[in-house]
């Protein structure tokens, strides 16, 4: 029974993701009819022309250059945040860990703030100035946190988490200071911090895709060791895991992945925290199953949240608000469950 679920589960989940991508492409504020939208998709993907004469170029652009890349970026972002969260929860053996726990988000936010305040407009590799600064900010933060926590060759997990919080707070303070002195840009900064997929196109998808592919493969090569890590570092060492190397590998991979998506989308919270927990409830703790399912489920979750963000109100809502609206209550539920478990 459980084996069949495992066998067909992944195929079903992939199918579900494709259906969600398809449906969400059809939904939007711009009124493009169901039939026209399908025609555009068929024409663009399979080059099957079912009569494009009556469809405006504007409609084609909305479906193909606005909605679809945005949805795919949402899928990638959600998936990346979820697998990074899953991996962090594994190596830190801490259910409250998320991809931002080591200050990646604060670093990115400071970088983006500097970019916005200085009105950085040059671009590189399809990233605009703000995104580049955000990427640099988040990766620098990780390096600082890592080196502060390092004792010789070892990086104790507890120290790592604490210095992540400390550095994150310090960096946030600097960011708020910048915001106070640049009140005209405050709204723009706030929107960036809350995270949004608004206005993202194929360029951004292509920017993050290589990170995701390489990072995802690296994650998948570590699944057995991540499982063993859940038994505690000492036991993992005694079972032949080079725990320091594993930690370094996961830290570097996750922070690169997170930095890449955050610099493009801003800080989208709770996906990386909540999704791995929900997936774990269904699949169990083994990373060989947990990581692929987190990717799919995280991706689908963010597509749905983003679709809500762009359709539910007359105005775009930052998607971070929607994910937090779902994630917050779930977090409380987790805490209560832990309390009842006596843990």
């Amino acid at each position: 029974m459980k084996n069949t679920v495992k066998k067909y589960g992944i195929i079903l989940s992939i199918a579900m993701c494709i259906i969600i991508i398809y449906i969400c492409t059809l939904l939007g504020v711009a009124s493009i009819s169901f039939w026209d939208a399908n025609k555009i998709l068929l024409d663009q993907i399979f080059h099957i022309d079912l009569g494009m004469e009556n469809i405006s170029d504007g409609a084609i652009a909305i479906i193909w250059n606005v909605r679809l890349p945005r949805i795919i970026l949402a899928f990638i972002t959600g998936g990346v945040l979820a697998i990074c969260g899953a991996a962090y929860q594994g190596i830190f053996k801490n259910p409250m860990a998320d991809p931002y726990i080591l200050g990646v988000s604060s670093g990115a936010a400071l970088g983006a703030t500097i970019g916005i305040v200085m009105n950085f407009s040059s671009s590189l590799f399809g990233m605009n100035g703000t995104a580049i600064l955000a990427f640099v900010g988040s990766f620098t933060t990780i390096l600082v946190v890592y080196n502060i926590s390092r004792v010789g060759r070892k990086v104790p997990v507890a120290t790592l988490l604490l210095s992540g919080i400390a550095i994150g707070q310090t960096i946030s303070a600097i960011m708020y200071l910048l915001m106070i002195f640049n009140q005209e840009e405050m709204t723009q900064i706030m929107f960036w911090i809350m995270g949004s997929l608004n206005g993202k196109g194929w360029d951004q998808v292509l920017t993050v895709l290589p990170y995701v592919l390489i990072g995802g493969v690296i994650m998948l090569t570590s699944v057995r060791e991540l499982d063993i890590m859940l038994l505690g570092e000492e036991t993992a060492t005694q079972l032949g895991v080079d725990t320091e190397r594993l930690k370094k590998k996961i830290l570097i991979t996750s922070s690169l992945l997170t930095a890449a998506v955050v610099s493009v989308t801003g800080i989208i919270g709770f996906v990386g925290l909540v999704v791995p927990h929900i997936v774990r409830l269904v699949t169990g703790p083994k990373h060989r199953v947990l990581i692929p399912f987190s990717l799919l489920f995280g991706g689908a979750f963010l597509i749905l949240c983003d679709t809500l963000a762009r359709t539910v109100a007359g105005q775009e809502i930052p998607v971070g608000i929607i994910t937090a609206a779902f994630g917050g209550p779930f977090f409380v539920y987790l805490l209560r469950k832990r309390k009842q478990g006596g843990a």
Partner: protein
């Protein structure tokens, strides 16, 4: 059992290690050969667990060398070491829902690279390991739902799946009830004997250690102070060096191994004046009163006691001077003369709770001439097999002296305490 050329598996040379600045191991030396079952014993904080941590690569050695199968332990990678050494920790909880099979399969990790998945052969080894530990029937159950003993067997199965040459155990039985303690120890002995695995186990229970290990290393202050077969290690002088305890060691006839009975912690000097007390005993009820009087620091003597009786054993262990008679022999008047000579010097004489018969009634002859005070346990009258002689003897004594009658030994202890307590002024 003896091998001509046993292979040296482990060699410790002046090993120093510890946490931070503090040294726990302070020059540990030992050589362990293939197929040995070595027990590390000693009080808390003497470095037994630290030694296992150094060995399994969790803790660096500050100075000295650990040689593992002819190569410096530090030169193995974690993976290589895990192929040779498996560790069974004290007790083990997991916050996540792994099945028994998942846990045992983790034992194959040292043999798998990140690219390869577990092969048919790995599953075969895992199944064998679960079979050997009788964990196969619940392979699909969640580890967290198992009992303590079952969990420990699963962890041992994982260690077996590692196919190690050496298995290290850190107090494997401390969280288990006696049934499971024995079960786990027998399992480990099987591994040692049938698969000739070298076993090094930290054990708190000296009796379990003596029973299962074929070699014991007694540790104190981060060093090995005694090293040898259980019979040579478990002796009072050795254990006294290590444990601040009064103890009693006898041979356990069932296993032919020494067995220790801890009596009490040695206290600072007692606040009692020392008296000379003679106890007439010889049954099996005086052990406690003898032990307590000895603990209070009185100079005890006993007699006449038949060798081999329980009271005799206690006096022997506590080192109380006795007038002895051969086993199952009636007490001769010569012995009683000697007994009287000893009793003549005593401040107090206790006729403890013991049955009187024709064999030992002689013990009461001549008591009326003694200067010391006589205390008599009333319960003797309920165990009188002398056809009235005991009563007559007592009457005879009472004609010359007061015989203080007591109802239990504790009463006597209280009387002695009241007599001898030194009051602080």
């Amino acid at each position: 059992m003896e091998r001509l050329m046993p292979k040296v598996m482990l060699d410790f040379k002046d090993v120093v290690s510890g946490y931070g600045e503090k040294d726990i191991l302070k020059g540990f030396n030992a050589t362990i050969c293939q197929g040995e079952f070595v027990g590390l014993i000693g009080p808390n904080g003497t470095g037994k667990s630290t030694l296992l941590k150094c060995l399994s690569g969790l803790l660096p050695v500050k100075s000295g060398v650990i040689t593992l199968e002819e190569k410096d332990n530090t030169r193995y990678s974690q993976r290589e070491r895990a192929q040779m050494i498996a560790v069974v920790p004290q007790s083990f909880d997991i916050d996540y829902d792994f099945t028994v099979e998942d846990i045992v399969l983790m034992g194959r990790n040292p043999y798998l690279s990140y690219r390869t998945r577990e092969s048919q052969n790995d599953y075969h080894i895992v199944t064998e390991a679960m079979w050997a530990t009788k964990t196969l029937p619940f392979r699909k159950r969640l580890y967290n739902n198992l009992s303590g003993g079952e969990k420990q067997r699963v962890i041992i199965a994982r260690a077996i799946a590692q196919e190690p040459d050496i298995i290290l155990l850190d107090e494997p039985t401390s969280a288990l009830d006696i049934h499971h303690q024995i079960e786990v120890m027998e399992l480990i002995r099987d591994l040692n004997q049938k698969k000739s695995m070298t076993v090094v186990a930290v054990l708190h229970d000296i009796n379990l250690a003596a029973r299962y290990c074929n070699r014991l290393i007694l540790m104190k202050d981060g060093k090995a102070i005694v090293d040898g077969i259980p019979k040579d290690v478990i002796t009072e002088p050795n254990l006294k060096k290590v444990y601040e305890m009064k103890m009693f060691i006898k041979e356990n006839k069932l296993f032919g191994k020494p067995e220790i009975i801890p009596l009490r912690v040695i206290k600072e000097s007692e606040d009692y004046r020392s008296l000379r007390i003679h106890v007439i005993c010889g049954g099996n009820r005086a052990s406690q009163v003898l032990e307590e009087l000895e603990a209070m620091g009185h100079q005890l003597t006993a007699g006449v006691v038949n060798q081999g009786s329980d009271d005799w054993t206690i006096c022997d262990v506590l080192g109380i001077p006795m007038i002895e008679e051969s086993p199952f022999t009636a007490i001769s008047s010569e012995k009683q003369v000697k007994n009287l000579a000893v009793m003549a010097k005593s401040d107090l004489i206790l006729i403890s709770d013991l049955p009187f018969g024709h064999g030992n009634i002689t013990n009461l002859n001549g008591l009326e001439k003694l200067p010391g005070e006589i205390y008599f346990h009333r319960n003797c009258l309920n165990n009188d097999f002398t056809e009235g002689q005991l009563q007559k003897r007592l009457e005879a004594i009472k004609k010359h002296k007061t015989v203080n009658e007591i109802d239990d030994h504790q009463e006597f202890i209280e009387i002695v305490k009241a007599l001898t307590l030194i009051e602080d002024k």
